[in-house]
Symmetry: D2
Subunit: 115 residues, 4 copies
């Protein structure tokens, strides 16, 4: 599977099956999942803890290090998708809605000039 | 759009356009994005900071509070998708690969009995 | 040493010596230290990730688990003290000043009634 | 008060009084406090979210920005001290013990050569 043909619903179903097969829904409360997202996000950040942007760019040319970063990203995604399942939140609507509101808050012309 | 017909690539393209329109790629380094994911994850967690699981469940029946939580989730997703773009990581592969490895680490039969 | 006779300056000096002996000041930038504080805070939170408040209280009666939590707390403190050294911030003044401002924001009488 | 003459116990008592005056001990469970530490740590990190180390150094010459950073640091300290109170953990012992163990893990001679 690749991102071109995988829907958000595909990933959500796969996460839901994984959780249900272990009877873990009881632990996947919104508060625990939010804590878990923060915990995994910190593990992702840890990969870059002492690196400058330049050093990080070099490190990420190493296949193994990139794979490790991708795995930390996956952990954050999995808990986010589980939270979407728990709360019955449509991820695409939430993401596209937020980007639309941000279009208004950060007018492209103005910010391109500043950047 | 809804999760049933939105692919990961659809969302990634939309995020990439938003960033590019503002010339923000220069700020979206892996380290800054990882920090941003952690920051937004903490804002999500803040919604449940002082609540028990039971109080959180009640709070989330309020449409406005649920929408606020969905918006915090969107913020985390947006930075994660931007990081996937920056690193050219396939999100679906990373998520499904991680779930597969976790199938081995957490055998369903054994964990269902424990849970 | 114990908290009754150890000053903030005592701990700050000890942290500064540890860092200087390894020539690590170059890595201890405000941004890296803030990221490190967030990373260690997440490791502390991880100790309670799937526990209810009641389960956490039981777990913490175990000496070894309490010691592990204290060690995660120490990690957060050490980076905070290093940041105070880097920025030449007086911790006591910052803490007491913040508590004083919070006295005004959260009048004790009113909040005791609510709680 | 300044760090030279303020003990950890002084700050801990002041935090304990603030909490007790509002009947907030009930909310200050180890899990909630750990989440709060992570949340405040992320607010501290947010101050440096898009800055390079060089830009952060310039920003921190601004008195107001430095004061804002010190206030975020105070928030993390306050929750850490409240957790120390809740768990009856001696902060000085935890910090000095951890530094001593780290002396062994990171021999100064070796790391100075590497740095």
């Amino acid at each position: 599977m690749t991102d071109e043909r995988t829907t958000l619903a595909d990933l959500r179903r796969r996460v839901a099956e994984f959780i249900a097969a272990r009877d873990w829904e009881q632990f996947h409360t919104p508060k625990n999942l939010s804590a878990s997202i923060a915990i995994e996000a910190a593990e992702l950040l840890e990969r870059f803890q002492w690196l400058t942007d330049e050093q990080a760019a070099v490190a990420l040319q190493d296949e193994e290090k990139l794979a490790a970063v991708a795995e930390e990203m996956a952990d954050v995604f999995i808990y986010l998708l589980s939270l979407a399942n728990t709360l019955d939140v449509d991820v695409s609507e939430a993401v596209l809605g937020k980007l639309e509101r941000n279009e208004g808050r950060f007018p492209a012309d103005e910010w391109r000039r500043r950047a």
